[in-house]
Subunit: 136 residues, 2 copies
DNA sequence: GGCCAAGTTGACGTGAACGTAAGCAAGACG
DNA sequence: CGTCTTGCTTACGTTCACGTCAACTTGGCC
């Protein structure tokens, strides 16, 4: 079942994006679907890239940062200096992600602690305390 | 030295934000500095909240989501239903963060792998290969 | 041959999170 | 007294990542 090429509609349903979004990513040079006449056709490579794009977005990267990162996943597309530059950019992104990873862990621990406190407070509040003043 | 109250300028330097940003956060009800006459004065509570705001932003949360989360850190500010609602929202955020944490780990592993591959390719490319065709 | 549905381009609109600029108040300083 | 700095409010501008809409082409179908 059309394992190779997908229309824009199929892509939209598969990845929960709009046609506008896919054309936008193409305009920003993040994906390069074939053109059968007027129509776009997306292959496995495009789908793989889209998955990386959507993931990158969830991590808060801009489309331009993602575009640069995608070059790393697309080998053979440049000379030595080009490859080296891509690697440097990817290292920076990796650092960002590892920082964010550590920070996220801290935040999760703190939030859990606050949640526990709040649940304790909730259990301590009598049901009819709605109209009382907290502490003067 | 001024451990208690800070002017907007001092806040901006301390947290690397602009006055516009601090006033914006206040308009969105994320911080509530005192008003000594016309001027704003920020205390330790405001600074703690600002730290949480900036961190939340790094995780990709909207200011509205952050505002709701901050209620969790500000006890005694509501009735039972209010507290329960805040807890529910915080649980959702916590789930988001834990999902993001796991996904981030995956992405880091993959990116590291791609980086290794790219470095191998870089080492394999002769210095004068700039004008050659990759693989026909 | 006419019509609809799907797809395309191009232009403009939108919401979030600020930036920028204009104009005013108020204390400090010479 | 003037003016300088700091801060305030109001309002409009900006960037990013799309949404929306109009007008066009294309393919299928009766």
């Amino acid at each position: 079942m059309s394992d190779e090429l997908m229309t824009i509609r199929q892509m939209c349903e598969a990845f929960d994006v709009t046609p506008r979004t896919l054309r936008f990513y193409e305009a920003r040079e993040l994906i390069f679907p074939e053109r059968r006449g007027q129509h776009r056709l997306y292959d496995r490579r495009d789908r793989a890239r889209l998955i990386l794009i959507l993931r990158g977005k969830r991590f808060g990267f801009s489309l331009e940062q993602i575009r640069q990162l995608l070059e790393l996943y697309e080998p053979g597309s440049g000379n030595r200096a080009q490859i080296a530059a891509t690697i440097a950019i990817a290292r920076d992104r990796l650092d960002d992600m590892e920082r964010q990873y550590a920070e996220l862990r801290e935040a999760i621990v703190e939030l859990k602690s606050q949640l526990t406190d709040a649940e304790t407070r909730l259990a301590a509040v009598p049901d009819d305390a709605t109209l009382e003043q907290p502490t003067g």
